[in-house]
């Protein structure tokens, strides 16, 4: 049986750690300008970035740091109300990757955004909008 030497093991642990934190790094490195286009293509039909403007989905203005299901005037699903999520870049990343996995029973009709770079860009854009 072959055992990796300590240097290889350290490299593997580092690589695994890097993979594990990839979403965190990715959104930090996102490009807001590209994210605006991603938002236009993926999100804008159902979400506005104007405060108080709800569509089929709630306004995403100031979403970072907001507790889920708290936008006034929007009728959330029971699942979202019970999710106890406070939106952070990491939570947003996980949610838009697979909405139904993070909030089973939620009503957002969106399969998910697989492209990690697109997610990083759109999150950077969300964070840039005041």
């Amino acid at each position: 049986m072959h055992f990796p030497n300590s240097r290889s093991l350290a490299a593997a642990v580092f690589a695994a750690s890097a993979l594990a934190v990839t979403p965190f790094v990715a959104h930090a490195n996102g490009d807001p300008a590209k994210g605006e286009k991603v938002f236009a293509g993926e999100c804008s039909d159902c979400h506005s970035l104007t405060a108080g403007k709800n569509k089929k989905g709630p306004s995403l203005n100031g979403v970072n740091g907001r507790k889920a299901a708290t936008v006034a005037g929007f009728a959330y699903s029971d699942a979202m109300k019970a999710s106890d999520i406070t939106w952070s870049p990491e939570k947003i990343d996980a949610y838009i990757t697979r909405p139904k996995k993070v909030v089973p029973g939620g009503k957002m009709k969106y399969d998910g955004l697989d492209d990690e770079k697109d997610r990083a860009d759109v999150i950077a854009y969300l964070l840039s909008v005041k």
Binding site: E36, K37, V38, A40, G41, E42, S44, D45, C46, S48, T50, K53, N54, K55, K56, G73, F74, A75, Y76, K109, D111
Partner: protein, 429 residues
């Protein structure tokens, strides 16, 4: 038959419910109901060409909403235009070179609850100067999980085959999306293509399902309304197409993919029906019809700055009447480009070929063949999220030209004489 009459009465009751539920003081629309801009559901921010979001809204029975709107949408639209037919300088043709109100409609349109929605359109015909019931599509919908996949399914009560179709490739919602009421066109068309006058003279019930946002299937049947009912709904006394037989079947399947920044669909569809003479209906216009078609569409949506669409369909009809049997083939294709959902250019091609039988041509020495091109430029300044008076005020200004290469078997000056320029202003609110 009794069941069908019951359904037709239910159809009328639902229409009345939609109209009754619309308070006169409100003018909301689907955009008001969902809180979305027109661009969310319509290519070019206006008109019937649907985005994937719009297709799903329609399949969902027009019931999606923003969770706070409390009134039933009412809408209206009007199309005014100038029509110039190239013509042969005869007095008859000169009469149609005019500027006038093409049509005006009011709609009761929207959701009743999470499972019932639809629209009822009443239209003032600016040429015939009369009101009539126009397109109507009322839905009963639900959704459930099947094998971990979402299945949206429902019933559509409607008054025109293909008015319920979510794609813009079939007859009712196909290109061109508006046109002059004065323009000429091919005399021959298939049953499903509107050639037998079923538009607004029938009542239909179809069952449909949409699995996993990708597989669409629909089947249903139609019956012609009683002649007196047709007249009561605004159709002319001579509009009765005859009695549709009990075996009339409409069907449609499609595979659809919404990739958010692009989308495509391919499908098959068809309609079989027998029309029987009754009353004053000319026996020469009735017969048995078997239509089968294939269609496809592609949309590039990107970041909604540059949008391109392609739509195409082909219908093959086999028809028989009074000992004659023949075929008709209809092909349509069109492409459009929109910049920022504001400036649009659309190009279309149409072709009809067929046999010289009585169902397709009044003169057996002529073929029913027609073909031509349609070019349209449009400007849609409103309809975006940040537009003035959004979503209440909407307008499109357009210029459309139909160039006939052949019309009803004739080319040359006859075909070109029907070339039509139509400049229009289309408003909706």
């Amino acid at each position: 038959m009794r069941t069908l009459h019951t359904l037709l009465r239910l159809f009328a009751a639902c229409a009345a419910l939609l109209a009754w539920a619309s308070p006169a003081h409100a003018l909301p629309s689907f955009a008001r109901q969902t809180g979305q801009a027109c661009t969310a559901c319509h290519i070019g921010a206006f008109g019937p060409q649907l985005t994937p979001n719009g297709m799903k809204f329609k399949i969902g029975g027009y019931t999606d909403w923003d969770g706070s709107s409390t009134w039933m949408p009412m809408s209206a639209h009007a199309i005014a235009g100038y029509t110039k037919v190239r013509g042969s300088k005869t007095a008859e043709v000169d009469k149609v070179n005019s500027d006038r109100l093409n049509e005006a409609s009011i709609f009761a349109a929207g959701r009743v609850n999470d499972h019932i929605g639809g629209f009822v359109q009443a239209t003032w015909d600016g040429i015939g100067h009369e009101w009539g019931l126009d397109h109507t599509d009322l839905r009963l919908v639900d959704a459930r999980s099947v094998g971990g996949k979402e299945l949206v399914y429902g019933l559509s009560f409607n008054n025109n085959p293909t008015v319920q179709d979510p794609f813009n490739t079939l007859t009712v919602w196909g290109f061109p999306y508006t046109g002059s009421e004065l323009a000429g066109g091919p005399s021959a068309a298939s049953l499903i293509g509107g050639g037998r006058g079923l538009e607004h003279t029938v009542g239909g019930l179809t069952l449909y399902g949409f699995l996993d946002n990708s597989i669409y299937a629909e089947v249903g049947t139609y019956r012609t309304l009683a002649p007196r009912t047709q007249v009561a709904l605004g159709e002319g006394k001579d509009s009765d197409p005859g009695r549709l037989g009990d075996g009339t079947i409409y069907w449609r399947t499609a595979y659809f993919r919404d990739l958010k920044r692009q989308a495509f669909a391919v499908g098959l569809f068809g309609m079989n029906g027998g029309l029987h003479s009754r009353g004053a209906v000319d026996p020469a216009t009735v017969g048995n019809f078997h239509d089968i078609g294939v269609d496809a569409m592609y949309q590039y949506l990107g970041g909604r700055e540059h949008i391109g669409t392609l739509n195409t369909s082909y219908v093959r009809e086999t028809a028989s009447s009074q000992g004659e049997r023949g075929h008709l083939n209809e092909f349509k294709a069109n492409a459009s480009y929109f910049y920022r959902n504001t400036y649009g250019l659309s190009l279309g091609y149409f072709s009809t070929t067929g046999d010289s039988i009585g169902l397709y041509t009044a003169d057996p020495t002529k073929s029913p063949n027609s073909r031509g091109f349609i070019t349209e430029l449009s400007w849609t300044p409103l309809g975006k999220e940040d537009s003035w008076m959004a979503p209440w005020a909407n307008v499109r200004v357009g210029l459309q030209y139909i160039n006939f290469q052949r019309l009803d078997g004739e080319g040359g000056s006859y075909a070109h004489g029907n070339n039509t320029l139509f400049g229009y202003v289309w408003t909706a609110f």
